[in-house]
Amino acid sequence: MADELYFDYAATAPVRPEVRERMAEWLDIYGNPSSLHRMGMRAERALRRARDQVMQSLGARDGRVVFTGGGTEANNLAVYGVARAYAQRGRHIVTSAIEHPAVREAMADLEREGFEISYVRPNRRGDVSAEEVLRHVRDDTILVSVMHVNNETGAVLPVERIADELQAHPKVVFHVDGTQALGKIPVSLARTRIHLYAASGHKLGALKGVGALYVHGSLRLKPHVVGGGQEFGLRSGTENVLGALSFGEAASRAVREMESDVDAEQKRERLARALEELGYVLVNPDHHSPYILCAALPGARGEILVHAFEEKGLYVSAGSACSSGKHGREPSHVLTAMGVKPELALAAIRFSWHPGTRMSEIEHAIEVVRERTAWVKQALGIR
């Protein structure tokens, strides 16, 4: 990847070198953690260490980490798990209109089952306000579920504020989809009233196929995948030991790397200004992750730019990886919820990077964008 500029960290991240180095050693821990013999115990011990590492990365104290088959499943477990466990208490849920499909589709499913879902809309800049979220909470609300960082715009949602305000509603469970937040912005669960927090390993440089759900205290949940009763009975199936170990290590490393990336905001600002000069319209939420920037060149569909950049080794994406399906793209539900017109929404591209990205790589990416944008503009006759 020497000459390649990977700016699609929100889709997935390369496996961290520290993770790769330890892989051989971890692969030797082949026991089934539920087995009672030595090989099993060894795997169980390793798994416990990984769990502690993830707890620490989340700044969590009172609770536990449940490993799942990925971020999608962690979010599914949270949303379905609360809905199934507390349906007797109420059937109303508050969420945002800009959630990832892992939450959004689960909500749509519950809606078909008769749950009532309130979708809180963002403002035109992409920010979701805590007041708006709280305004929708009612006596029969059982769950508030919002993402910490939006995967398309980078908007940071005020989860601490929401958690504080929810103290007035002690029976409402609060779930946060932290898939794009862990390792990108500070997460400190011990000081907040967040009950559930979902994370994904591969976004941090761990393997694909492992996720985690933090579960506060002794919160009761209905499991989504049932069977042998592993993971405190909340997620059955032989644990993905290798995946979990890679998650633990990658999470610790990612958080440390983030903490030492002191000029993160300058790097984002540098890219943002350069794009603006080239005629891009930016999505610029007031509260944003320093590692995601969504921009659109009016008149040029996102895919055209993705391919034009790729020819020079710069990888970005047109929207989220999950929605770029084979059947042609639909305008992003996130941008649509912000009131962005379909033509402009289809022009949107996403740059996403990570704390290890150097200013020189940002500059290099800007050079590619400048040259390729001129080419695309000429080809499409954009002025």
């Binding site: 390649e4 990977y6 699609d8 997935t12 991240a13 390369p14 496996v15 790769r20 892989m23 692969l27 082949y30 026991g31 089934n32 539920s34 087995s35 009672l36 013999h37 030595r38 090989m39 099993g40 088959g69 990925g70 999608t72 499943e73 599914n76 499909p101 892992a102 589709e105 689960a106 994904s200 393997l207 694909k208 196929g209 492992v210 989504h224 995948v225 049932v226 069977g227 042998g228 009763g229 592993q230 059955s236 199936g237 032989t238 993905n240 030991v241 290798l242 995946g243 895919e303 993705v306 790729e310 990888y315 970005v316 994406s317 047109a318 990886a321 999950c322 929605s323 770029s324 399906g325």
Partner: protein
């Protein structure tokens, strides 16, 4: 350490590590991404899918990768039941299924499913007549495992599928084939099942990867909600390196399949040949069971003590399924076989690719010695 607990999990084959390396490195992309790293990841996933389609005799479109055997079983049962519950809400399954099936069926019961659990004989075998007798006009789903994970009994799934189809072609037939994949040449189309579940770590692949077969046209709604991955059968970013490892492991087994199965049978037979002469030894696995599993007991000796002694001597075995974290519950399989007393005495020895005849000889000798010493202590005290 002599590892004879391969039905719980298996060590990775060396070729698997090598195959996975590239997908931890340059081809780390998200298979749904349009750019080079994404496309390479996509290609690896599709190659794996084509390999399994070929090996299992089905269309690649009918296969989806999952996070493991348990998830595959859950997806299959929920998926087929929920898709039909307006018209059909009866499920037929057996008393000897894995917990991934039994627990899922229990959950469906809470959602309103009516469940008939078909018994087994003393060999752990289901009688197809019993299955057919259990069918009703509102039967949605029949789920019968192919190879039992505790005793290795091979269930007559093909015959069950055929007879269910003759009775009512609208009934969906699922089979948990997690323990069959390492030891049976499977042709799903011939077997006539609609749904089947598989796991990578039972065939020397990595943990955290499974496979589900959903024949086109089968009523199915996915339990995993989210993106549109895996033909919309299972949402979530695909575990690419794991899938590549699964592919590499199965390809290696497939390349030597007949020899591999024959070798397992000779290991199993050698083990039993040596153990049968030990005082009080008996065998729970039928003679025609899968060659990977030998379930045995020693009259009057508790399996928890025996396993502890074995572990101290460097032999890893188990009392049955590895699940339900840490507890040694008497096996539901042996109890269903009418072996109530044996359920507290029996252990499962399970074999795989890496085991050698030498290991079997050593393990058998150690086991005989332990049993003798436990007996003499018992009679002396």
């Amino acid at each position: 350490m002599i590892y004879l607990d391969n039905a719980a999990t298996t060590p990775l084959l060396p070729a698997v590590r090598a195959a996975m390396a590239r997908y931890l490195d340059d081809a780390f992309g998200n298979p749904s991404s349009l750019h080079r790293p994404g496309r390479e990841a996509r290609q690896a996933v599709e190659e794996a899918r084509r390999f399994f389609a070929d090996w299992l005799g089905v269309s690649p479109r009918d296969l989806a990768f999952t996070s493991g055997g348990t998830e595959s079983n859950n997806l299959a049962l929920y998926g087929a039941y929920l898709a039909q519950r307006d018209g059909r809400n009866h499920i037929v399954t057996t008393a000897v299924e894995h917990h991934a099936v039994l627990e899922a069926v229990d959950r469906l019961r809470l959602l309103g499913a009516d469940v008939t659990v078909v018994p087994v004989d003393s060999d752990g075998r289901v009688d197809p007549d019993d299955v057919v007798r259990a069918l009703r006009p509102d039967t949605a789903l029949v789920s019968v495992m192919l190879v039992n994970n505790e005793v290795g009994t091979i269930e007559p799934v093909a015959e069950i599928a055929r007879r269910v189809r003759e009775r009512d072609p609208g009934i969906v037939v699922h089979s948990d084939m997690v323990q069959a994949l390492p030891v049976m040449r499977l042709s799903l189309a011939e077997m006539g099942v609609h749904l089947a579940s598989f796991s990578a770590h039972k065939v020397h692949g990595p943990k955290g990867v499974g496979l589900i077969y959903v024949r086109s046209g089968t009523p199915f709604v996915s339990l995993a909600a989210g993106g549109q991955q895996e033909h919309r059968l299972r949402a979530g970013t695909e575990p690419v390196a794991g899938i590549v490892g699964f592919h590499a492991a199965m390809a290696e087994l497939a390349a030597h399949f007949e020899d591999h199965v024959a070798r397992l049978a000779s290991l199993r037979d050698a083990m039993w040949e040596r153990l049968r002469s030990v005082q009080g030894a008996y065998r729970n696995s039928p003679l025609d069971s899968a060659p990977s599993i030998l379930n045995v007991g020693f009259r009057g000796l508790r399996n928890d003590r025996l396993l502890m002694r074995l572990d101290l001597e460097g032999i890893a075995a188990s009392a049955g399924a590895a699940c339900s974290a840490g507890s040694l519950e008497p096996s539901h399989v042996l109890r269903a076989m009418g072996r109530e007393a044996e359920a507290r005495e029996s252990i499962r020895l399970s074999f795989a690719w890496q085991n050698t005849m030498e290991e079997i000889e050593i393990a058998a000798a150690i086991m005989s010695k332990i049993v003798e010493s436990m007996r003499s202590r018992f009679t002396n005290s």
